[in-house]
């Protein structure tokens, strides 16, 4: 397993140019997540309307894997329904070996089902870093569960 496979260009791009970055003043839900082992922090702000995430804002700091994962996740879930997001989340968790099930990755058509997130596949080979990649997703789940509307 080469490090270049872990630190793919697209990951470094999301790390350095994070999408959907910032707090949402008018958020209907938010959650904060921390990875106490290495200090990664992610905050997710959401505007949920009619069962759909119409806006998402990400803040936080940490390693390239956690911050790129947050940026990619934000891109993947923006505009999606809560049900669709649950599907994405479980496919992501399967890809990380965190959950049984079909990872839904078509190796011949990379980027087809999880988009840029598939670049995080390499993390699976680095067990101590899986938590970093998963942090934004667990934080998002918490935010959705806490959403009143």
């Amino acid at each position: 397993m080469s490090l270049d496979e872990l630190y793919r260009e697209v990951i470094l791009d999301h790390y350095r140019n994070p999408r959907h970055r910032g707090r949402l003043e008018h958020a209907t839900a938010h959650a904060e997540g921390q990875n106490p082992l290495c200090g990664d922090e992610v905050r997710i702000d959401l505007v949920v309307d009619g069962g759909r995430v119409v806006e998402i804002g990400v803040t936080g700091q940490g390693c390239s894997i956690s911050q790129a994962s947050a940026s990619m996740m934000a891109e993947a879930v923006a505009g999606k329904s809560v049900a669709e997001i649950e599907g994405l989340s479980s496919r992501f968790r399967a890809m990380m070996d965190l959950e049984e099930g079909d990872a839904g990755i078509d190796e011949s058509r990379p980027g087809e089902s999880l988009g840029d997130l598939e670049a995080l596949q390499g993390v699976r080979r680095f067990p101590v870093r899986i938590k970093c990649a998963a942090l934004p997703w667990t934080t998002l789940k918490e935010a959705l569960e806490g959403d009143a509307g």
Binding site: L3, E9, L12, C38, G62, S64, F126
Partner: protein, 409 residues
């Protein structure tokens, strides 16, 4: 005298591999590796001497007690305590500091009193005081650092007054390497009638220490950062200080007599050692100080200055790398913390790990210091007697590789 590379043969783990590369162990500030002399001493104790101490009326129990008390005498000699009884065995540095915070602080601190610490303290010398402050109404104040990463004793003017009852400080920083201004802070404490407490977790392993010459009231250190096992450390205090310390833990072995409402305490040091102690660990601790005495602590310190100077010189050649700590090796130990461009320390640690290099990444149990440095985390390389310049070269090459992977121009 600086070359101690022949010692490497004593450390079995140094000839193992990590991720397919020979292990380059640069995390000795977290814990050191153990020589066969220590491993054999502990193994031999269990094979031939094991029994509980201070209890049985049979020959084996007497032998076990002798081994345990013999280790105390070795540690006492190592730091030049006046008597072995001045060495209290604890579970480690953290437990030793807690024993002082609870055993002294609960009785002697009150509302408005102050505990004066420094901004570079390990959580082990912060959190116990916070807990005791919550019970007593005392508050914590902190000495700042200079731009050169030294404890800024000029700030004593504004912070030192009779409200200060405890002055607690690190003898050597586990992050910056900074050697603490022990004599100055000990004198400052005395001048207002406060006690002084030295977190010597890094100091005792890395330089010659004569506890009586420090002029302080309590010193805490642990075995596992000086070639010994985990699970044992020591609290030193002069007898008249220990006499004024209350036991923080109660139980078997620490009492003289137990009534239904009250008990009386055993002699010092046993009143501070409730329950069955870590006996094999004490034996290992004794073997570790034997080993270090044979090397000589002056040689340990000289070697550390050399390898640290070499590391600082080589790291200075890596573009975009920032070292946090004094540049003068006479003012510091061998913990070298750094950041590299915008590469997060955890990513650095992963990249180094893949090349067999073990470094620590994170806040190293010093959150207040990292907030002061204004970085969420640092990477840290740290050395001990078995570290060699070739390992520094491998580190520097791996850091260059990290720059390439991250596309740092």
């Amino acid at each position: 005298m600086g070359d101690l590379s022949h010692l490497r043969d004593d450390f079995p783990i140094l000839s193992t591999e990590m991720n397919g590369h020979p292990l380059v162990y640069l995390d000795s500030a977290a814990t050191t590796q153990k020589p066969v002399q220590v491993l054999d001493a502990m193994d031999g104790y269990y094979r031939t001497t094991n029994a509980n101490v201070h209890r049985g009326a049979y020959a084996l129990a007497v032998e076990a007690t002798d081994a345990y008390e013999g280790a105390r005498a070795k540690v006492a000699r190592f730091v030049n305590a006046a008597t072995p009884a001045e060495i209290v065995f604890t579970r480690g540095t953290t437990t030793a500091i807690n024993a002082i915070a609870y055993g002294w602080g609960l009785d002697h601190l009150g509302p408005g009193d102050r505990v004066l610490l420094t901004m570079l303290e390990h959580h082990a010398n912060v959190v116990p005081w916070q807990i005791v402050a919550r019970h007593t109404g005392a508050e914590l104040v902190y000495l700042p650092l200079t731009d050169g990463y030294l404890v800024d004793t000029s700030a004593l003017d504004g912070l030192l007054d009779e409200r200060v009852k405890v002055v607690g400080f690190s003898g050597m920083s586990n992050v910056l390497g900074t050697i603490g201004p022990v004599a100055e802070l000990a004198a400052a404490a005395r001048s207002v009638g406060a006690i002084s407490v030295v977190d010597a977790a890094q100091m005792v392993p890395h330089m010659p220490v004569d506890v009586q010459a420090l002029g302080v009231d309590f010193v805490a250190f642990g075995a596992h950062k000086m070639l010994g096992p985990t699970g044992i450390g020591a609290l030193w205090g002069p007898m008249d200080r220990l006499e004024r310390l209350e036991p923080a833990e109660g139980g078997g072995e620490m009492i003289l007599d137990v009534g239904l409402q009250e008990s009386t305490w055993a002699d010092i040091p046993h009143r501070f050692e409730a329950g069955t102690p870590p006996i094999a660990e004490a034996v290992g601790f004794g073997a570790a100080v034997d080993y270090l005495e044979a090397v000589g602590m002056a040689a340990v310190r000289a070697h550390e200055e050399q390898i640290t100077a070499y590391a600082l010189e080589r790291l200075a050649t890596v573009p975009d790398l920032t070292v946090y700590g004094p540049s003068d090796v006479s003012a510091r130990g061998g913990a070298v913390s750094f950041t590299l461009a915008d590469i997060h320390p955890h990513d650095l640690a992963t990249i180094l790990d893949q090349q067999g290099i073990a470094v620590r990444a994170g806040h190293h149990c010093t959150r207040p210091l990292h907030r002061l440095l204004d970085v969420p985390a640092t990477a840290r390389a740290s050395f001990y007697v078995y570290s060699v310049p070739g390992e520094v070269d491998l580190l520097v090459a791996a850091l260059e590789e990290a720059r390439r992977i991250f596309g740092v121009a």
